[in-house]
């Protein structure tokens, strides 16, 4: 093996290690929505090992996810090679995970932003898509608190102006 090959292998190894440990959920799905990759974040939060989920469809593993609805989101990613986004404001979560801070966190579950991105093969087709799951709990909690405060402030102003 040449020096370059060894270096590339090393880089590949690093990349895999980072995908495994990055604090973002990474899942690769095929056209049947069968799970091909399930990283450390997904493993920790779902409590399911990669060996338990690989080859199974998203919908049999998580019956709460509406297949028709999800397929509609994913379709343009497969067909048009565009990205699709779901934000926590649309729906708080796709996977019902616990809050990262179970003791001091104020919300019971994790708010999530989801990105679906195409994985283009060498032939130019998209047979697989990647799904990234971001923890938005802190942002959501902050925003909800701020809104509650604004409502309270408006009510208070009305009350004062009436007196």
């Amino acid at each position: 093996m040449s020096q370059d090959d060894a270096g590339e292998l090393q880089t590949f190894h690093w990349m895999m290690d980072m995908l495994q440990s990055v604090d973002v959920g990474i899942v690769v799905l095929d056209r049947d929505y069968r799970i091909r990759i399930w990283n450390g974040f997904m493993e920790s939060h779902s409590g399911r090992l990669p060996s338990m989920v690989r080859g199974k469809t998203l919908f049999e593993l998580f019956p709460d996810i509406n297949a028709a609805w999800f397929s509609q989101k994913a379709k343009p990613v497969f067909e048009l090679k565009t990205r699709a986004f779901m934000t926590w404001e649309q729906r708080p979560y796709l996977f019902k995970f616990h809050n990262y801070r179970p003791i001091t966190g104020s919300e019971p579950f994790m708010y999530q932003n989801i990105t679906l991105a195409p994985l283009v093969s060498s032939t130019g087709n998209v047979d697989f898509i990647s799904m990234m799951i971001y923890d938005m709990t802190d942002v959501a909690t902050g925003k909800k608190q701020l809104e509650a405060l604004q409502v309270w402030q408006t009510e208070e102003q009305e009350r004062v102006s009436r007196v």
């Binding site: 604090d23 450390g40 920790s44 939060h45 409590g47 809050n99 003791i103 104020s106 802190d138």
Partner: protein, 339 residues
């Protein structure tokens, strides 16, 4: 004004370097005993309070920084303070018992303290007898075997963490026995408000999660430690708020990271760690616990107090696990729980 003197409340002084242990001891005092309770973090603080006339009864831990239990007992005898001392310690060597009784302690109770053991001792020495037989309330429902097992893995994890610290910072790390307790929301609240009201500490918390196990690590550093921590980390500039925060984060990352790694290895799991969060001082604390109290009642707490020899550094690391994590933990540790 004789009445005032007569009605002055009996004072109980609890001296322990561990926050959880102090609360635990205070909670184990008889419910129907009208006393004022004072706290000291080490022998020197206890002596100060005794000087002020506090502490008709002293509940004393042995392993503490600054001034340990033995030295405290000696000093009490020298000064002739009229206090009665019951030692509460995890050190179960017979020599320890002999030593403390020869130094004037009237009794010795093993840690973790239980209400019935403390009441028994109070009764034995005619300090307090309950009017009616109060119902048995356990400080903790943790099976002793399970507790020992958690304590053991915490010990190993802590030892590894201490070793890493010692190598990185070139210091000698003092390792106490970790405290393992099931604590309730109310106690957690007390602990956090304690952090809040005490201006002298800063705290960071970090969530962690693995398959079936989740929790939070809480790292509490006393503000008096910062100058010495800066020395250890070789910080040349002035230690302002910004630098303090940085030091806190650095210390917390090392302590939480190594301890968590040690626990994960022994349970054969991998934990994901969230981003650390500085526990706010104003609204956050009370709000935090008022909201969460709806969701959980009990949490498993492993508390470790680190000290560094030759430095005035005091740091508490508290690993909190949700109650539902314990089933997985016990399964993972089954090989240790079996005879």
């Amino acid at each position: 004004m004789r009445g005032v003197e007569v009605s002055q409340m009996y004072s109980v002084l609890v001296c322990d370097d561990s926050l959880v242990a102090r609360k635990q001891v205070a909670k184990c005092l008889p419910q129907d005993w009208p006393v004022s309770v004072h706290f000291a973090r080490h022998g020197e603080e206890a002596l100060d309070l005794l000087q002020q006339g506090k502490g008709d009864l002293l509940l004393l831990d042995l392993n503490m920084p600054v001034l340990d239990g033995y030295e405290t007992l000696k000093a009490i005898r020298e000064f002739g303070f009229p206090t009665r001392t019951i030692v509460i310690s995890g050190d179960i060597q017979p020599a320890a018992l002999e030593r403390v009784t020869s130094l004037g302690a009237i009794d010795f109770i093993h840690k973790p303290v239980r209400p019935d053991a403390l009441q028994e001792a109070l009764k034995r020495h005619g300090i307090f007898s309950p009017q009616s037989s109060s119902e048995e309330t356990d400080c903790s429902e943790l099976d002793p075997k399970v507790r020992d097992c958690y304590q053991e893995i915490a010990n190993i994890a802590m030892g590894q963490a201490g070793d890493h610290l010692a190598r990185i910072m070139n210091v000698f790390v003092q390792l106490p026995i970790p405290n393992v307790n099931l604590i309730e929301v109310s106690e957690m609240h007390m602990m956090l408000t304690d952090i809040d009201s005490h201006e002298r500490v800063s705290a960071v918390c970090q969530g962690f999660v693995g398959p079936g196990i989740r929790g939070e690590a809480l790292c509490i550093l006393s503000d008096s430690s910062f100058d010495d921590v800066a020395k250890i980390f070789n910080v040349q500039q002035d230690v302002d708020d910004q630098v303090q925060l940085e030091l806190l984060m650095d210390a917390a990352s090392i302590l939480i990271g190594t301890c968590l790694e040690g626990l994960a290895q022994q349970m054969d799991v991998k934990f994901s760690q969230g981003h650390p969060v500085v526990l706010g001082q104003h609204q956050a604390i009370t709000e935090i616990t008022s909201v969460t109290s709806k969701r959980w009642r009990k949490t498993l707490a492993i508390e470790i107090s680190y000290g560094l020899e030759g430095y005035d550094v005091h740091c508490d690391l508290i690993m909190l696990f949700t109650e539902d994590s314990m089933a997985t933990m016990n399964a993972k540790l089954a090989h240790l729980l079996e005879e």
